[in-house]
């Protein structure tokens, strides 16, 4: 039996001992223990070091609000998690835990020098300290900030666990399974509605777990709890322990994370570690209870100083006495009961210090009966003890005057500053709060969601009040669902109700500027910091928060926000409601990335689209690149070729023989209907009326602002049918844009749009030998200049497969694009591959495609254009119809700015020293001007290898079309490159090679 374990107390199972380690030391624990309760059972209070000052810290709470006792947990390779709260991590046999923020050891830490340099690290220290001199940034400040940033240490291995994700729909969701939540569930359980009851703890019960002596309708609390749980399960209520409601989203969607394996010694096969639930509930009861407030005084953060309610929980729920000789300081009745429970369990309570001059007579009587000294109207002004509190300084307060201090020994100091309703999820709903002066806290007033608040969460105190309110509020929610119930009325004996006052800071006789009175324990923010922030001009609570970082740690200020507000309001001389409360945001407690990712990791991180020909490319050694959601073959290296060598070979083979390219990813839209040609006239810049069936045309799509959005070759298959192609990445966008105009601007047009991208496999063949390969395979059209000239299309058969054949070129060579039903793609590819062998057929990828098109000055939308380029800027005024009454972008092109001189034009760039330019590099006219230089454009495309024997580039240059032959400069970090402006067509400007 460990030293501080109390026999016969708590819900832990003495018959099931376990061993776990903390910083390498083995400790015993009992089934039901948390790491914190097990360590406290061995008298270990020191559990970590604080974030900024590296001060020794222990557990201050017993639940998920814990700011101090953050540990790392490990379960073998890859299973390490930092920043776990020791107060909620259940112990299992073999669990390894480590403390954080310490070097070299928890008991001796060199970072604690920060504690001595306290003045340096006051509020806003980042803003003030790290400003000067500039040269200190790289060598001093940044390394310091990086070393200090963040809590814990990030895991280094891939997480081997799996995480699940589920939806749930229910009539009534109850968040919090304390007395209010359980009473609400009992009220609803008889209605036949689907009811879900969730609680973040390992078992339901809430306060009842810490109040075993209460009697509910004559039944001891824990018996009542067991019976209620059985009744709820029998009635079909879904009870979900270890499940945290992390966020309340629109229209009653609640996000919940269920922990499934973190408490188990043996990991079950096929069970995810956590499960994220998206719950859509018709009605919600929020019964999240209340959180105890710390008192603010010098030295309130030493290990051994903790919340009185936490001490009561450690004793009654876990059977652990937090000290042999505890002292109590409080401004609320509730701490007196903690003192009584500890005294009854054998602790020698040193003193109960109450800041109030008057306290209920029955409490004083009960203290006297236990021989506990009582000091009313007193304050605590200091504590001492390096790694554990060993004594406290107490002073009388009368008439605002703080008397002389005397020291009292203790091995734990239990504090209570009253209770704050837990309104985090209520706050997520954008609920309105109302300030309650009597309780010195905010209470829920109105929420736009279908939700009610019950119990301590709305300021009620005591088991009986919580039970009855839970039942009554559930009745309201059930009414809204059309289910009528009689709300039960509970009578509770030995209920420990009480009241208190709320103090902002304990009065002290010492200089406030020297006090280390902590408000936010996790971020090391003191009352002094808050006052300093106000003195330095912060007026809004949001500014005070950001300047001091109060409430910005991973506990989101569960303990510190209200104390911080009170102190800031004092300093500002304004009442609290005028200062306002900062907003709570999801998640309620720190949540693993795994839970958010769910199944979306590894291969499932994003959809991967593959063409029918993709397996062939893989088998033939292709190197792939992602394009949109597609993966496309980038090049096909042979032997030891690198990319440059492969691309050089693929380019040459295509210009000399036949290149074959998988173009299946091109977006395709079928535009059909009696008004199809009118629709095309209105969407694209080009004229379509006179385009005969069987012919194609390069189409340019603008936005109504006049800028290029997309392009592609469009074939007119019939009077009322167009085969539209788009860029690979733009397909969905173009389809959406077409639907938008068709549905909302021109609903009178009889046109139907169908996305056909995935219906077709598309193979592009380019090169002087293409006709030799293709002519014997094609039936239905003769491949010659007379019957099938450049920019023709036809429905025919290729190698026996029904096909749409286009004679188009994106390379400057004779080119065809063959579309066959998607599943036939690979068969056609292999047929062409075999038939092409005598003609030197070569497969090429996207990189060669880019080079070949750049040599011809064909643009790639999104690379050579950036959403600010007009057809005229791109040198494609020829694609803009002159006599149409309207098309999308026509009016936009007439805007003054789009007609202005000195717009950036797309031109070719040839470097004088034959060096390769960098895509994105800025262009200047005068290389000798002072920095910052005036930038006149940028490089959009640049390729090292190709047919021309020298690197080529495209770029947007101010007034470029009028500057052909002039030299511009591209300043790079190591040198400045001179380049000559040329035509954007580098190869075969007269298109002689397009002829068969």
């Amino acid at each position: 039996m460990s030293r501080f374990r109390v026999r016969g107390k708590g819900r832990v199972d003495a018959a099931k001992p376990m061993i776990f380690t903390f910083d390498g030391t083995p400790y015993t624990a009992l089934k039901g223990d948390t790491v914190a309760s097990a360590l406290l059972a061995h008298g270990v209070h020191l559990m970590g070091r604080s974030f900024k000052y590296h001060r020794p810290r222990g557990a201050i709470a017993a639940g998920s609000e814990e700011p101090n006792a953050l540990i790392g947990t490990r379960r073998g390779d890859g299973r390490f998690e930092p920043n776990t709260r020791a107060t909620v991590q259940e112990v299992w046999g073999g669990l390894q835990t480590t403390s954080q923020n310490k070097f070299p050891s928890l008991r001796f830490d060199v970072g604690a020098v920060n504690d001595a340099a306290y003045m340096l690290f006051s509020a806003g220290f980042y803003y003030k300290t790290f400003m000067w001199p500039k040269s200190f940034w790289d060598r001093v400040y940044e390394p310091f900030i990086r070393a200090a940033a963040g809590l814990g240490v990030a895991p280094t291995e891939e997480d081997p666990d799996s995480y699940a994700s589920r939806y749930l729909h229910c009539d009534l969701l109850i968040v919090g399974a304390g007395p209010a939540g359980i009473a609400a569930a009992l009220a609803a359980s008889a209605t036949g509605r689907s009811v879900v009851l969730v609680d973040e703890n390992a078992e339901i019960g809430g306060t009842l777990l810490s109040e075993p002596d209460a009697q509910i309708d004559g039944t001891p609390a824990w018996d009542w709890l067991a019976q209620s749980r059985a009744d709820l399960l029998a009635a079909g209520v879904k009870i979900m322990p270890r499940t945290t409601a992390i966020g309340y989203y629109h229209q009653n969607m609640i996000g919940m994370v269920q922990k499934l394996t973190d408490h188990l010694t043996e990991l079950p096969a096929d069970t995810p570690r956590e499960r994220l639930w998206r719950v859509r509930a018709k009605q919600v009861v929020l019964a999240q209870g209340a959180l105890e407030k710390p008192l603010v005084f010098h030295g309130n953060d030493r290990p051994g100083v903790m919340l009185a309610g936490a001490a009561q929980t450690y004793l009654n729920r876990y059977g652990v006495k937090v000290g042999d000789s505890p002292a109590v300081v409080t401004s609320h009745d509730s701490a007196w009961f903690a003192a009584f429970d500890l005294a009854d369990a054998g602790a020698r309570v040193q003193v109960i210090i109450d800041t109030r001059a008057q306290v209920r007579a029955d409490l004083q009587e009960a203290a006297r009966a236990r021989s506990i000294p009582v000091r009313l109207g007193h304050t605590v002004t200091a504590t001492a003890g390096r790694l554990r509190v060993k004594n406290l300084r107490v002073n009388a307060v009368s008439g605002g005057h703080v008397g002389a201090g005397t020291w009292i020994n203790c091995d734990a100091l239990l504090m209570s500053g009253g209770w704050t309703p837990s309104l985090h999820l209520f706050s997520h709903t954008k609920g309105r709060l109302a300030w309650d002066d009597a309780l010195t806290t905010f209470l829920p007033e109105h929420t736009p969601e279908a939700c009610v608040i019950a119990g301590a969460a709305r300021g009620l105190w005591g088991v009986q009040a919580a039970l009855n309110d839970g039942a009554a509020r559930a009745r309201e929610a059930l009414d809204a669902l059309g289910a009528t119930v009689q709300a039960a009325v509970y009578a509770v004996a030995k209920d420990r109700t009480g009241t208190g006052v709320s103090l902002h800071e304990l009065p002290t006789d010492r200089s406030a500027s020297k006090a280390k009175a902590f408000v936010d324990f996790q971020n090391d923010v003191t009352a002094k910091d808050l006052r300093l922030a106000v003195r330095e001009g912060m007026r809004s609570i949001e500014h005070v928060k950001r300047y001091t970082t109060n409430g910005m740690a991973t506990d989101q200020g569960k303990m510190s926000n209200i104390n911080g507000l009170n102190i800031a309001a004092d300093a500002l001389g304004k009442p609290q409601p005028q200062v306002g409360l900062t907003t709570f945001r999801p998640p309620y407690t720190p949540t693993s990335f795994g839970a958010f990712c769910g199944y979306h990791r590894g291969d499932h991180f994003e959809v991967l689209r593959r063409t029918q020909i993709d397996p062939w490319a893989e088998e033939n050694g292709a190197v792939f690149e992602p394009v949109g959601q597609w993966r496309r073959a980038r090049y096909f290296p042979q032997g030891n070729e690198d990319m440059d060598a492969a691309v050089r070979r693929e380019c040459a083979a295509t210009r000399a023989g036949i290149g074959m390219f998988d173009a299946s990813t091109l977006g395709k839209i079928e535009v059909v209907g009696p008004d199809a040609v009118e629709f095309m006239n209105r969407m694209y810049t080009n004229p379509w009326t006179k385009l005969a069936p069987g012919r194609c045309r390069y189409g340019l799509l603008l936005g109504d602002d006049g800028f290029i959005r997309d392009d592609g070759v469009i074939g007119r298959l019939d009077a009322d049918r167009f085969h539209v192609t788009t860029t690979t990445g733009g397909a969905a966008r173009v389809m959406n844009m077409m639907e938008d105009y068709l549905q909302t601007e021109w609903p009178d047009l009889e046109v139907w749009l169908t996305s056909t991208t995935e219906q077709w496999s598309t193979i592009a063949l380019n090169g002087p030998n293409v006709v030799k390969l293709l002519a014997p395979l094609v039936e239905g059209v003769a491949l010659n200049e007379a019957d099938f000239p450049h920019m023709s299309c036809v429905e025919c058969t290729v190698a026996g497969m029904p096909a749409r054949l286009f004679r188009v070129s994106f390379t400057g060579e004779v080119g065809f694009e063959i579309n066959v039903a998607a599943p036939l793609g690979r068969q056609l590819w292999e047929t062409l591959w075999a038939a092409g062998q005598p003609h030197g057929i070569t497969a090429y990828g996207t990189e060669t495609m880019h080079v070949l098109r750049a040599e011809k000055g064909y643009i790639i939308v999104g690379q050579d254009t950036d959403g600010t380029v007009t057809p005229y800027d791109a040198g494609m005024g020829w694609a803009v119809a002159k006599s149409k009454p309207d098309f999308v972008g026509m009016r936009g092109l007439a805007r003054p700015d789009l007609k202005a001189a000195n717009r950036r034009h797309l031109v070719g760039l040839l470097t004088e020293d034959h060096s390769l330019l960098e895509e994105g590099a800025q262009i200047v006219f005068d290389p000798d001007q002072p920095i910052p230089m005036t930038m006149r454009g940028h490089v959009t495309s640049a390729y090292a290898t190709g047919t021309t024997g020298r690197p080529i580039a495209l770029g947007l240059v101010e007034g470029g079309h009028e500057k052909l032959g002039e030299t511009v400069y591209i300043p790079m970090p190591d040198r400045t490159i001179a380049a000559k402006i040329t035509s954007s067509v580098f190869f075969d400007p007269d298109n002689t090679r397009l002829k068969i």
Binding site: Q251, P448, E739, Q743, T744, P885, A894, P896
Partner: protein, 100 residues
């Protein structure tokens, strides 16, 4: 996650099925070429920045594919109503009056 009523499907469905499509009732002139620069600027760039009820377009992109109009409160995200494209702009006062 919002629940949105598609007036074409007549069904209330999760936000994941829908895409936002900007302010509603911004009319493109039948012949924009006849518009002045000021009129075209108004159409192209000028949008409300409403705090409160906002007329806006949504598309049931992973459903029926139709564009429709909605009145949504930009503060609470509450949808007052959704209606088919081309239907007249609903009367705001009576809409908000009906809201509890």
């Amino acid at each position: 996650m919002l629940l949105i009523h598609c007036p074409y499907c007549d069904d209330t469905l999760p936000e994941l099925e829908f895409a936002y499509a900007g302010q509603a009732h911004v009319v493109r002139a039948p012949l924009p070429a006849t518009q002045s620069d000021a009129e075209w600027e108004e159409f192209l760039f000028i949008r409300d920045n409403a705090r409160g009820p906002h007329f806006e377009r949504w598309r049931h992109i992973h459903g029926c594919g139709r564009f429709f109009n909605a009145v949504r409160d930009t503060v609470s995200d509450r949808f007052y109503t959704t209606y088919k494209a081309g239907a007249p702009r609903p009367d705001l006062a009576s809409l908000i009056g009906e809201a509890p």
